[in-house]
Point group: C2
Chain length 252, copies 2
């Protein structure tokens, strides 16, 4: 398929420079590319968990159902993300995963992770770093859900999406596509769909965010970040010092 155009390689390259062997190893994770339709389920809670997925294109999200019928979206995945990392320790899926868009995913077995651990110290470290980063993302969301108002929740999430998109796509403008419905946003943020709508109204009255269908415009990024009390150190991860030293050691 695409060579060098691999999302996962550009994702990993963001953490440390990769040797040819390491690139090959990563590419091998993307062997079984399969197209998948918008709305399709990747897997369900309780299914055997024995593989990860890399997301080559399209968006996806993981979610859980509660007994009362509510749904909580746990993570939103963008192209280049690895899906199911969290479940490495488990025999069964803890979360449902569903496509938002049409997309392409590549399955690879948990066992393959052990190959990585065995063959490349830098990749092992990056894997760990990526996992830490997802966790930091989640932590930040937890704080937001626990303690902030609806408008701050929205502002925070939207700004986070902007930053994450910019990370893989540096020339993104302050207008971009956000293919989530208001109901899905509500399920991310622990709000009701009705209140998401009201909050959008308020935010656009204050000229912080404009939403038209699935397109979002943020006229003043800094204003939005302030509204969200956004502290971006959890996204500006910095593993390079450590990993560079680890490469040197590995080379010795």
């Amino acid at each position: 398929m695409g060579q060098e155009k691999s999302c996962i390689i550009s994702h990993f390259s963001h953490y440390c420079s990769l040797s040819e062997d390491e690139k090959k190893l990563l590419m091998s994770l993307e062997e079984n590319a399969t197209a998948i339709k918008s709305g399709a389920l990747l897997w369900e809670v309780g299914a055997p968990a024995n593989e990860f997925c890399t997301l080559k294109s399209g968006w996806a999200y993981s979610y859980r159902h509660l007994e009362n019928g509510d749904r909580q979206i746990l993570e939103v995945f963008l192209p280049g993300d690895i899906i199911g990392l969290r479940e490495f320790a488990f025999a069964e899926r803890l979360e449902n995963v569903r496509m938002i868009d049409d997309g392409v995913v590549c399955h690879f077995p948990h066992r393959r992770m052990l190959d990585i651990f065995r063959q490349s110290l830098p990749l092992t470290s990056v894997m760990f770093a990526i996992s830490s980063r997802y966790q930091a993302l989640m932590t930040e969301r937890l704080v937001t859900l626990a303690r902030r108002s609806a408008r701050q929740k929205m502002a925070h999430f939207l700004y986070e999406m902007y930053l994450r998109l910019r990370q893989t796509n540096p020339d993104i403008s302050n207008q971009f596509r956000l293919p989530l419905s208001q109901e899905q946003l509500a399920d991310v943020l622990g709000l009701s769909p009705v209140h998401v709508s009201r909050t959008f109204t308020v935010l656009s009255e204050e000229e912080l965010v404009f939403r038209d269908r699935h397109y979002l415009t943020i006229p003043d990024l800094q204003a939005l970040a302030n509204e969200a009390e956004f502290d971006d150190c959890y996204l500006t991860d910095n593993v390079r010092p450590l990993l560079d030293s680890c490469e040197q050691k590995a080379a010795c």
Copy 2:
């Protein structure tokens, strides 16, 4: 110090059986044992993040401050836990960590993690598994904070604490010490201290939980789990099949 009595070894042994070399490697993480007082800060947000901590005794918690003065407790650490795993990918601390009790902690540098990656595939996998497990814990808390009522939040947290304590201390009864103040509970659960108090009152009127000072009694564990809609699959992790196969491969 204590041999075989190491909390971290018993923590890891829970995931897979360890060779003598691996035990030595783990023991080496516990070299710099230092006593630390109740209420003392292990580190603060923004400090350089270059080491982990294992908690040998005592309880600790990590937390974040918000601009309005609110505080959110992110994680509660019990003896045997590793503190700061999440920050492996970061140059700076993202969270404050403070002792709840008097305790003993052992610092070890991030670099040491690379030694583990290099020297032991099983330990690498277990590290990854433990990290996944913390993440699962956090995910479950996120769902609870986002979607459940105050009584369910309380019930869920208390039952989770019971299960986690039982994991390292299998003969725990339905009465145990929980050294958290109501204010700290509030900061875990995203509630006000006042409402925590009211909720305790309700829960004990319904004979679900009795709290006396720092001691907790749960007369009917199953009833509490039901109230919390507790799904314990996120705690009954099951890595053994994978790790056993990885040990075999490593042996070859």
